[in-house]
Subunit: 233 residues, 2 copies
Amino acid sequence: MTGKLYAIGTGPGAADLITVRAAKLLASIDIVYAPAGKKGGDSLALSIVREYLGEYTKIKERHFPMTHNSLEKEQAWQSVADEIKADVIANNKVAFISLGDVMLYSTWVSILERLPTDLNMEIIPGITSFALIAARTKRPLAMETQSLVVMSCTTDKVILEQALIHNSSLVLMKAASCFAEVKGLIEKLNLLYYAVLVADASLASEKQYRNLKDVPEDEKLPYFTTILINKEW
Amino acid sequence: MTGKLYAIGTGPGAADLITVRAAKLLASIDIVYAPAGKKGGDSLALSIVREYLGEYTKIKERHFPMTHNSLEKEQAWQSVADEIKADVIANNKVAFISLGDVMLYSTWVSILERLPTDLNMEIIPGITSFALIAARTKRPLAMETQSLVVMSCTTDKVILEQALIHNSSLVLMKAASCFAEVKGLIEKLNLLYYAVLVADASLASEKQYRNLKDVPEDEKLPYFTTILINKEW
């Protein structure tokens, strides 16, 4: 049995923010599974790893629906899990790639749940988008006795408000879809001064706002929009 | 002006879990600052980067006291910050290395606070210990609508208990010094089933406990001991 599956976090976007382990490994991979890009182009994860792939690596782009229909999603996950399992059992070195870190808000976890627990497997962590954002904006995620909360802005607004009140350092992901509401909450709690917003960190389209009030009303924020709040910085 | 400072997260311990960007960069660094190792040996951060350093890189190991005397700590940070600043102004390419990610519970933040804001600088993120622990134990840090809390076990026990009650996924760092107390809390809240403990992740001395009750009473847990709890896994 030489087949093995590698789940690889590609990091936030720049090709050289992948780990040395992942970069070396990708050269010897037989089959790489990547989430399908929109409009037929490379997915972002695939564009990150492309330069590290071997000449004969087979690329399998697979579509994961972003729908609320959970049956449709579960069928997609199950189908990819079955396909990966078959490829590993057929003695291939298989990679599943995902943006950021594979164990944090990643489709990978839904695949992992559907794989046999004894499948030969290694999971390789990746740099999260918020670690890069902290680095780019020179704002610490947490210091000494601080705790850090990472959550999605799409969560219930009462829970979000409680989290903003009770924690001294927060990462709010997916801040685009409900930006006006979240900005309102942050303003109400007098936290504007401690907040920074970064969209598309490390991509060509990256934008930073040191003051949430500078974000134009008509700005179309991208999917990868994150707000960092550190009350002690 | 060709001087520049790079703050580099080395990742959790294995040399190949550093980023490709950091690995390439280290070859051209003139001076690397590393936290001093105990008993005269290499610091862990230094041992991680040693293979990537250029032949002529000067190594400056600096001691950071682990004392409660904050004046002593502040003097150490200020002295290293002053030294780094002088090296950059003298046109050196300088690196400051730190385990894990530099923006999360790192001495680097105390140095950053003491450097001029206009100093030529790039911060390069690193893999956190808990991302590696999640990968090694195959347990997700957070899924879909979950929030993730990262905190130190050395925090106030009332705050820790509230965090354990109100959050569905937690990373408890520095779990060695107060392990008995924390285990008691986890047991009281019926969370034993969802918890896993990993000491010295990715080092030769790594130990994993899927059940906290399996940790022997007389076990001397190391400084890098982390507990992961995910109530939905």
